[in-house]
């Protein structure tokens, strides 16, 4: 890809601009679906964007004894991390910046928001924020292992560490959701936990610790942090769609090329929205767990399931190559 096209790819489509717009759409759909399920009206389409603009305009308050700069960079870092991660997610076709090992990079970048939340909670010297930060990190250690294992299983089977190549592999084979159903479920649950959504909204449990690490976030920082979580939702669903649902590639060739790209993009939208729907339903159908209960579930069931999946994949690789 030549440089102007690459810049276009990174900044406009499917890079930053599309990503932010799509994140707003995701937040809208998430809220709207939830509202309809709870027999409420829900927000209008423009609401997430309006919220964002409103929060940008609000006063940014730095708690006493906190260094301004530290409080400023944490949300920025988190946002930059998830936005970068999205570049490696195949949207219309294989990502142009893909390389061997970008899966690991995405996983690493996706953990940064949680770390940023912990840092924010720790820095803000607020009891609720500190407890929330500690909970965020505790939760990170609980879900991260099964989540990683579940996402690595497709890589092992496809024999590549690049998300785009895993997608290409699936074009000629069944989807990994079919081949690795356990891993798919673990990945969805792990994604829900990563995004700190009910039943895993333990770090920001409103009724217990106000807003956890978010308590002292105001104005621009809050806007950016919320956008980060929306973007992480898009990136996460895109990643799971790519790894388990075949991503944007069609199993058969389509002519001309622009039509193939368009169909790929449509597939990307359909698959990520389907994942969003599942995640939202999960959020609506449940209450919040306690951190010790999550610990039990995470290590006892999720981690065992993920390890089992990896073993199954290894066995399949050894005896039956699809």
């Amino acid at each position: 890809m030549d440089v102007p096209l690459l810049v276009l790819y990174v900044v406009v489509f499917p890079g930053l601009l599309f990503l932010v717009g799509y994140a707003f759409l995701f937040q809208f759909l998430d809220r709207k679906i939830a509202a309809r399920m709870q027999s409420r009206v829900g927000p209008p389409l423009i609401q997430p964007f309006a919220d964002f603009v409103k929060m940008l305009a609000k006063e940014t308050i730095t708690p006493a004894d906190v260094k301004r700069a530290d409080f400023d960079w944490a949300p920025l870092l988190a946002f930059a991390a998830v936005a970068t991660a999205f570049l490696y997610v195949p949207v219309v076709g294989p990502s142009p910046v893909a390389f061997q090992g970008d899966l690991i990079l995405i996983l690493y970048l996706l953990t940064l928001p949680s770390i940023a939340l912990f840092v924010l909670g720790w820095l803000s010297r607020n009891v609720f924020a500190t407890i929330g930060g500690v909970r965020a990190v505790t939760q990170l250690f609980i879900y991260e292992v099964p989540f990683f294992l579940a996402l690595l299983a497709p890589a092992i089977m496809a024999g590549t560490w690049s998300v785009s190549e895993i997608v290409t592999w699936q074009a000629s084979h069944p989807w990994f959701a079919v081949l690795q159903p356990i891993g798919f479920i673990v990945a969805l649950i792990g994604l829900q936990a990563k995004l700190e959504r009910t039943p895993f909204d333990i770090p920001e449990a409103e009724t217990e610790i106000v807003a956890g690490p978010w308590t002292e976030l105001t104005g621009r920082r809050l806007a950016l942090m919320r956008l980060t979580m929306d973007v992480a939702l898009v990136t996460g669903s895109g990643l799971v769609a790519a790894l388990f649902l075949g991503g944007p590639l069609l199993p058969w060739a389509l002519e001309p090329a622009w039509l193939a790209s368009l169909a790929g993009f449509g597939l990307f939208l359909a698959k990520t929205l389907a994942i969003l729907f599942v995640l939202t339903s999960l959020r609506i159908a449940m209450g919040r767990l306690r951190i010790d209960q999550l610990n039990d579930i995470g290590w006892k069931y999720l981690a065992s399931a993920a390890i089992l999946q990896v073993f199954v994949v290894l066995a399949m690789n050894a005896w039956w190559a699809p």
Binding site: S39, T207, G287, R288, L289, I291
Partner: protein
């Protein structure tokens, strides 16, 4: 982890009313806690001593926003007993219907709040939607949604028409079905079970020892229900069961409240279908003879007690209100120790605390005194000015 003091309240998203807990926690576990309940002093007991029986009823209605009917009924019931007036049957039945509708709206509200405390917002939204049906019924019967203003000494103030009654009766089957659905939901939804079961447990002995009342006591297997133990209004003529449970935890309290919801539906239906005719009030003397009465009432949250002392005048000599929340409060502090920080909201919510009831007793502070000196005209002028300036009306 070292011990940390987590201040919860007086302003906290989990609390609908001001209360302050100083929770001393070690990591996520609660070591001990201190409770400060009184942020809502309004001096109602003192104010009640200076108002006659006509004026004191609306005042008592404002002791609590949820159980407003409870506070007026328990008071007028006591005064009527002192005056030895027989209240017409129809009035007693109407009071019973309102009381049970109030219990339903209170329990539905509670169910929603408890679900919200564990982050289960869907149940919260659903129960509050259904609560609207109850509130609409109350509005049709009394004209108001919160402070019904239907009680007065000697009877009730508004006679529902047959059309009102029919409309309320039509809503009941839907409500019954929904409540049954919530019972199934609570019994099967895994996160709810995980967060309700074994949390805030009180054994029967503890519940007795700490003097719990209402659903909190009944969830620990104590059959203590004033409606049956000391029947008032029309409860001796209406069939109903005292719902108890043996779990003793938040889950048990939920089951008891849902069971009571179904009983309340039955009571309302029976009372409305057998609503006797006749007058709705009798004339009462202005003054009450010198007497002392302990008036008890099963409010949605438990036994509500008004101790009334009268002295041959048209005012009470002393009105001592003991709210169910105050009776249950001791048990909360006990059952929270050793629990998780995350369980505070739901354990506290499980007794359905009503803090405006509980801390009603005290007196004017500076602002209140100022308000008092404001005459009606000044207040009116102030209100008009306020709206003209702020709202452009």
């Amino acid at each position: 982890m070292p011990e940390v003091v987590v201040p919860i309240g007086p302003h906290h998203p989990a609390l609908k009313e001001p209360v302050n807990f100083k929770v001393i926690a070690e990591g996520e576990l609660i070591v001990r806690l201190e409770i400060d309940i009184a942020y809502n002093h309004r001096g109602i007991e003192k104010a009640a001593e200076s108002r006659d029986f006509v004026k004191v009823v609306p005042l008592l209605e404002r002791v609590c926003g949820i159980c407003s009917h409870s506070h007026t009924t328990v008071f007028v019931k006591g005064i009527e007993e002192v005056m030895k007036v027989g209240v017409p049957k129809r009035a007693q039945y109407i009071r019973t219907v309102i009381a049970e509708l109030e219990r339903m709206h209170s329990h539905l509200l509670w169910l929603g709040v408890a679900a919200h405390e564990i982050g289960f917002n869907t149940l919260f939204m659903w129960t509050w939607r259904d609560r609207e049906a109850v509130q609409d019924s109350l509005e049709e019967l009394t004209g108001n949604r919160v402070n019904y203003g239907i009680n007065e000494v000697g009877g009730v103030r508004r006679d529902p028409t047959d059309r009102d009654v029919a409309r309320v009766l039509r809503r009941l089957p839907v409500l019954e079905e929904r409540i049954a659905k919530y019972r199934r939901m609570i019994a099967h939804e895994p996160t709810t079970l995980a967060r309700f079961r074994g949390i805030g447990r009180l054994t029967r002995e503890e519940a007795l020892r700490y003097g719990t009342v209402g659903p909190t006591a009944r969830a620990s297997g104590i059959e203590y229900d004033i409606r049956r133990d000391d029947p008032y209004l029309a409860y001796d003529e209406v069939p109903f069961e005292v719902v108890t449970d043996t779990h003793g935890d938040v889950y048990g309290r939920t089951l008891v409240r849902i069971g009571e919801l179904l009983q309340s539906v039955g009571i309302v239906r029976h009372a409305l279908e057998n609503l006797p005719g006749g007058p709705i009030k009798v004339a009462t003397p202005r003054a009450a003879p010198r007497a002392e009465i302990l008036s008890r009432y099963e409010a949605p949250r438990g036994e509500l007690v008004h101790f009334i002392r009268t002295n041959n005048t048209d005012k009470v000599e002393r009105l001592d209100i003991r709210t169910p929340t105050l009776a249950n409060w001791t048990s909360v502090a006990v059952s929270l120790v050793g629990q998780h920080l995350a369980d505070i909201p739901v354990v506290v919510a499980a007794i359905d605390p009503c803090l405006s009831c509980t801390s009603r007793v005290t007196i004017v502070d500076r602002e209140d005194r100022e308000t008092k000196t404001m005459t009606w005209e000044e207040l009116r002028a102030h209100g008009m000015r306020f709206y003209r300036e702020k709202r452009g009306v």
